[in-house]
């Protein structure tokens, strides 16, 4: 799956978690813009992991602050 396809997929997965309807850009942050708490992060990450059949460990999650970084990471992980 190329980056654009991954982006489309994640956009649909994020929708139910984006309670405030924030417009999602490449530099939208999960903590400040989307205000995800740790439980939301866990549920959201689980959705992505199941969809792409990958693991995003907490160590990797710590490096991901923005939406764009997430799409990059998932694109790379599912290609491996």
């Amino acid at each position: 799956m190329d980056r654009a396809a991954v982006d489309t997929k994640i956009r649909s997965l994020i929708e139910p978690f984006n309670k405030k309807g924030v417009t999602i850009e490449e530099d939208t942050t999960f903590q400040n813009d989307l205000e995800f708490d740790s439980l939301t992060v866990m549920d959201f990450v689980a959705e992505i992991e199941d969809e792409f059949d990958i693991i995003i460990s907490m160590n990797q999650q710590a490096e991901i602050e923005t939406y764009g970084q997430l799409v990059d990471a998932v694109t790379k992980l599912q290609a491996d």
Binding site: D37, S38, L39, M42, D43, A46, E49, D50, D53, I54, I55, S57, M58, N59, Q60
Partner: protein
């Protein structure tokens, strides 16, 4: 989870501004001041002026029933245990002034480890200075860079800190969700080392883990299994060995972690295992090596207490009765509880919100009952809880008294 009832078990990164390194705590300072400005007694600064028994103390000048101490088996004033401690204090002095691997291993430490081996029927036992250090040390030492740790999201802070210290890849799954755990194990790259970390009883809601299913799945994927039995030792299982015993998986679990600061009634932590190479841990586990060993009186009281707990079936039975009658009584009064049925000696009462939870806690303490107030972010799903932990020394009458204090306080605050 969790003893740190005002902060999350999972470590957070706090960001500070400016030059004062303390500015990162400003939000927490404001939260605390907000709570106390309502005239509230500080729930996190209670002083026990006198301790009368495992179930009674004088707090803020009032005689108080203790229902939030984890002193499950009430061993803290057991005459044999107290005597063992006095004798060791007289014979071996106040402290060892040294690490277990240098001058800090006395006869008492070996005898305490033997008592643990006898209690669990396992080949190896290693005593740490605290339960926190037992999890920190074992997890960080066995799971290093490149290994994977799969753990429940509601794990205790000592487990999270052990994961962080060891630098393994950390993969959490939804609380007690067997399927979520299996999915994660399945995706771990072939050849990687795997450790599954579970708790027998989770201390926030007092619920138990489905260990039979989870341990079987962990084994199917070739993972080693570590179970923290801090809140079940001495109480759950025919011989008090914990949820691992109760669910029949003693032989499939690689490591059991426990503590002396709950049912055993003193302080310290341990790991028991049948792993043939386990003894090497004594040389490579930093939280074991780089700290002073427990004082002789502490290991002597622990040993005496553990040996008595082996024969504690009557006390276990009484504690189950207490747990069932408190659970039923609170439910009948109309309180919302953390579990449908009592699963352990912890009964969590769910409060509508933090404000009413704090008011209820204050009403209880003023009416002579101490429980733990637990609140977000330490609690699962943002809940405010009044966490009750029962003791085998609570009499039937005391449980009745506890229920009437809950009823009176609940009406005062308008929760029931």
């Amino acid at each position: 989870m969790s003893e740190g009832i005002i902060q999350p078990d999972q470590p957070e990164t706090l960001e500070g501004e400016g030059k004062d390194l303390f500015s990162k705590f400003d939000d927490i300072i404001a939260l605390r001041e907000g709570l106390l400005s309502s005239g509230q007694e500080d729930p996190f600064n209670l002083v026990m002026e006198k301790v009368l028994s495992p179930t009674r103390a004088i707090c803020n000048g009032r005689e108080t029933i203790l229902l939030g101490t984890y002193n499950y088996m009430g061993m803290t004033f057991d005459p044999d245990v107290v005597e063992a401690g006095k004798q060791a204090l007289a014979d071996y002095g106040t402290g060892t002034t040294g690490s277990r691997v240098l001058n800090g291993t006395y006869q008492g430490h070996k005898e305490c480890e033997q008592a643990l081996k006898d209690f669990y029927g396992m080949d190896h036992a290693m005593v740490f200075s605290t339960g926190y250090q037992a999890n920190l040390g074992i997890i960080s030492t066995i799971a290093g860079k490149g290994d994977y740790i799969v753990l429940d999201i509601d794990s205790h802070a000592s487990i999270w800190d052990g994961c962080a210290m060891g630098q393994a890849e950390v993969v959490p799954f939804k609380h007690n969700d067997i399927e979520a755990m299996e999915k994660r194990l399945k995706r771990i790259p072939e050849g990687a080392g795997k450790l599954v970390v579970l708790e027998g009883v989770y201390s926030m809601l007092g619920d138990v883990a489905p260990l039979k299913e989870m341990v079987a799945i962990a084994k199917k994927y070739g993972a080693m299994v570590l179970v923290d039995e801090a809140h079940s030792m001495g109480f759950i299982g025919e011989n008090g060995r914990g949820v691992v015993e109760d669910t029949g998986v003693m032989d499939d679990v690689d490591f059991i972690i426990g503590t002396f600061s709950k049912s055993v009634g003193t302080v310290g932590g341990f790991c028991v295992s049948n792993h043939p190479k386990f003894e090497i841990m004594r040389l490579v586990c930093r939280p074991y090596v780089f700290t002073a060993s427990l004082p002789p009186s502490v290991v002597a009281t622990a040993e005496a207490s553990i040996r008595k707990l082996m024969h504690g079936s009557n006390k276990r039975a009484h504690l189950w009765e207490n747990s069932r009658s408190l659970h039923k009584g609170l439910k009948d009064l109309g309180f919302k509880l953390g579990t449908e049925e009592p699963q352990s000696a912890i009964i969590a009462v769910i409060m509508p919100d933090l404000e009413q939870g704090a008011q209820m806690w204050e009403a209880l303490i003023q009416n002579g009952l101490y429980v733990n107030l637990a609140r977000p972010p330490a609690t699962p799903a943002g809940m405010t809880l009044l966490r009750c932990s029962l003791c085998a020394e609570h009499s039937e009458e005391e449980v009745g008294e506890i229920l009437s204090i809950f009823e009176q306080s609940g009406r005062q605050v308008g929760i029931i």
